[in-house]
């Protein structure tokens, strides 16, 4: 079996200290294989976003380790950490985080601009990404003038423009009506199937979760379910290593 792209081992994350200390993650362990589509679901405040932020190396866990392709990420810092994030990850957030008055193209090429890709190549690859998402005709428009669905497609274009290995999506359809949401989902799963991009989606939406290879359920900072409803060996296996006491609590 090849090295999992992400290995999470007993990750804990606490906010505040002393009296105000709050444990958002209380020890979570699982592996994600390259090319998987994973849904992280759970109630509001259960720690989904916190988990995603630690997976995406935006936030360091208080304890435990996250390995990226077998490399312990706590050894990454500064420039190497930034490069890893820039090259490996693409982000789709619930809020679009588009720069309102910049053009759609400018928004989409931002990750390449940060990576220091030359202007001409940026433009070429940016247009290609917009093409892929049927937004080429909007390239010159200001981002603020797009519809909600178009904005989310622009965000996806931005997430995939740098050829990431993993796309993190935090409630990617939360802001969209169901039909537009379905379109965005189709795009994400196409990317997963055709380009082999690993997809990690945080969501409330059971329907969306059901389309993923795998569902990871978080409750109060603990992994309570890790199953593969569609994948091979999809029997509902609850094998959260720390899940048992979580369910009991």
């Amino acid at each position: 079996m090849p090295t999992p792209i992400i290995q999470v081992t007993d990750v804990r994350k606490s906010y505040g200290r002393g009296q105000n200390r709050f444990d958002a993650l209380k020890g979570v362990s699982f592996d994600i294989a390259e090319g998987e589509s994973v849904a992280i679901i759970g109630k509001s405040g259960s720690g989904k976003s916190t988990l995603m932020h630690t997976l995406a190396l935006l936030d360091a866990p208080t304890s435990g380790s996250i390995a990226l392709e077998g490399v312990d990420t706590s050894t990454l810092a500064g420039r190497r950490l930034n490069r890893t994030r820039n090259r490996t990850f693409g982000f789709v957030f619930q809020q679009f985080f588009l720069t309102a008055n910049a053009s759609v193209l400018d928004n989409v090429v931002l990750p390449m601009k940060i990576a220091g890709v030359p202007h001409a190549e940026r433009k070429r690859r940016g247009m290609a990404a917009l093409e892929q998402l049927d937004l080429a005709d909007k390239a010159k428009n200001k981002a603020v003038n797009l519809s909600g669905g178009q904005k989310q497609r622009a965000v996806i274009a931005r997430a995939l423009v740098n050829d990431p290995r993993i796309i993190f999506a935090d409630e990617p359809t939360g802001n969209l009506d169901s039909s537009t949401g379905a379109v965005v989902e189709d795009i994400l799963f196409d990317l997963n199937r055709e380009n082999g991009i690993t997809l990690i989606i945080v969501t409330h939406d059971e329907d969306l979760a059901a389309r993923c290879d795998r569902r990871i359920v978080i409750r109060d900072g603990l992994l309570v379910e890790d199953s593969r409803p569609n994948g091979p060996g999809s029997a509902d296996t609850t094998h959260g290593r720390h899940g048992a006491e979580g369910v009991a609590a």
Binding site: G78, N82, R85, F91, F93, F97, K113, I114, A115, G116
Partner: protein, 436 residues
């Protein structure tokens, strides 16, 4: 993000909140405008003085006097009254009023000649004329100035006095032209004036001389508003003035001119002055004399610059404020960029460059308009208030000091920007992304 993109992004971010940026630029503009003008004032006046010094020439000459003990004892009475020295005469040198110098004798001239670095010595013959009279029959008081060889006066008409000629020649200042009864500067050239001196036995002698030129009166003219004779006339007047003096008193000079190598450095000149001082003499170059004037002007300009800098400091708080608002507004964008792998250093650079760019815009516009305004003011004043000082451009600009002004403003703006930029750089991407 490469440097070009960083600058490009900073520039385009500047124009995102146009009104806010405009107001900040306006505040900087006021400071930069003032600073450029005051700087231009200094440049203008000092350039005028420099021009005059260059025109005056004789940069290889210093005027040497022999200060008396009493000359420097104003306010220091602990030595008691200074002893009388029959060789003491009033000095024509700049210094405290009433300061006296010991006259130079032929022996002194020999001593000076022997000092290392002195190439040539010439005694300055000072002449006290009684009056000057022109075509009109009115007599006017006149001061006789002397030019050191190599010096020139700035003429409005005619020629320099010819020291090689045996003819008695004189150059009169512009202000004497009409008084002496001539219609204009060119009309005066070729005219004849009478100069009178009184000798030691109270006999008055009149000498006729030809006007060969009319001199401009400028603050830094070597002779001021005085009449400039050529050597022949100087000798004639001096001999007449000293007629009747016993020989040992006739050859007494208040000062002498000393020539040194024309490629002497400032250090060489200082060393020469020190050697002169060791032998009891004091030497002053033309540049020294004008130097004090420049120091005063530099002082005034410095004070004016200080006001402009205060205005700029006030404006820099505007920059701090503008950028803090900008950082606040762009919290999520900053978080996103950091999430996408933009380093803190680059984020810092982005905002501080934006500040520097605002500073650049304000200062470039300020300097540009100040140049226009300064040009207009100088040309308006040169025909009215300052018409008596031809050649003076009150507010002049040299590219280097303009560049320095713009740079200084950019540095101030950059420093102001570091505060908000540091906040942006420190921002935690997760917090920024959670920010509502």
């Amino acid at each position: 993000m490469n440097a070009v993109d960083l600058v490009g992004s900073a520039v385009s971010n500047t124009f995102r909140a146009k009104t806010r940026t405009l107001l900040t630029i306006l505040a900087i503009f006021v400071g930069a405008f003032t600073l450029t003008l005051t700087q231009g004032l200094g440049t203008g006046i000092n350039a005028y003085i420099d021009d005059t010094v260059t025109a005056v020439g004789a940069s290889d000459v210093m005027t040497v006097t022999k200060p008396s003990d009493s000359a420097t004892t104003i306010g220091t009475s602990d030595d008691g009254p200074a002893e009388y020295d029959p060789d003491t005469i009033a000095s024509g040198q700049p210094g405290p009023p009433g300061a006296t110098v010991v006259s130079l004798s032929p022996d002194d001239l020999d001593t000076l000649e022997g000092i290392d670095g002195v190439l040539r010595v010439q005694a300055t013959k000072s002449i006290a004329a009684d009056y000057i009279e022109g075509a009109d029959d009115t007599k006017y008081v006149a001061a006789i100035g002397g030019l050191v060889a190599g010096q020139t006066v700035q003429l409005t008409a005619g020629e320099q006095p010819d020291d090689g000629s045996d003819d008695l020649q004189v150059v009169i200042p512009v202000s004497y032209v009409e008084a002496l009864g001539y219609d204009g500067d060119t009309d005066a050239v070729g005219g004849t004036v009478t100069l009178a001196v009184t000798d030691a036995v109270r006999t008055q002698h009149a000498v006729e001389a030809e006007i060969v030129g009319v001199a401009e009166e400028s603050v830094a003219s070597p002779t001021g508003a005085s009449i400039t004779p050529n050597s022949a006339l100087t000798d004639e007047l001096y001999d007449l003035q000293n007629a009747g003096l016993p020989d040992d008193q006739a050859d007494r000079y208040a000062q002498a001119s000393v020539w040194f190598a024309d490629d002497a450095t400032d250090a060489d000149i200082t060393a020469l002055k020190d050697r002169l001082e060791d032998d009891g003499y004091s030497g002053v170059t033309v540049a020294d004399q004008l130097g004090t004037l420049k120091t005063v002007i530099d002082g005034i300009v410095l004070v004016l610059n200080a006001f402009a800098i205060i205005a700029l400091l006030a404006a820099s708080f505007g920059i701090v404020n503008t950028l803090f608002m900008s950082v606040q507004e762009r919290t999520r964008e900053i978080g996103l960029m950091k999430a996408m792998g933009m380093g803190s250093g680059k984020v810092f650079g982005l905002f501080s460059l934006e500040a520097a760019f605002i500073g650049f815009l304000g200062s470039a516009i300020g300097a540009g308009l100040a140049i226009l305004a300064g040009g207009a003011i100088s040309s308006a004043l040169s025909t009215t208030l300052l018409a008596d000082l031809p050649g003076l451009t009150l507010i002049a600009f040299d590219p280097v000091s303009i560049a320095i002004v713009i740079l200084v403003v950019m540095v101030i703006a950059f420093l102001a920007g570091t505060l908000p930029a540091a906040r942006a750089a420190k921002a935690d991407p997760v917090e920024s992304l959670r920010y509502e």
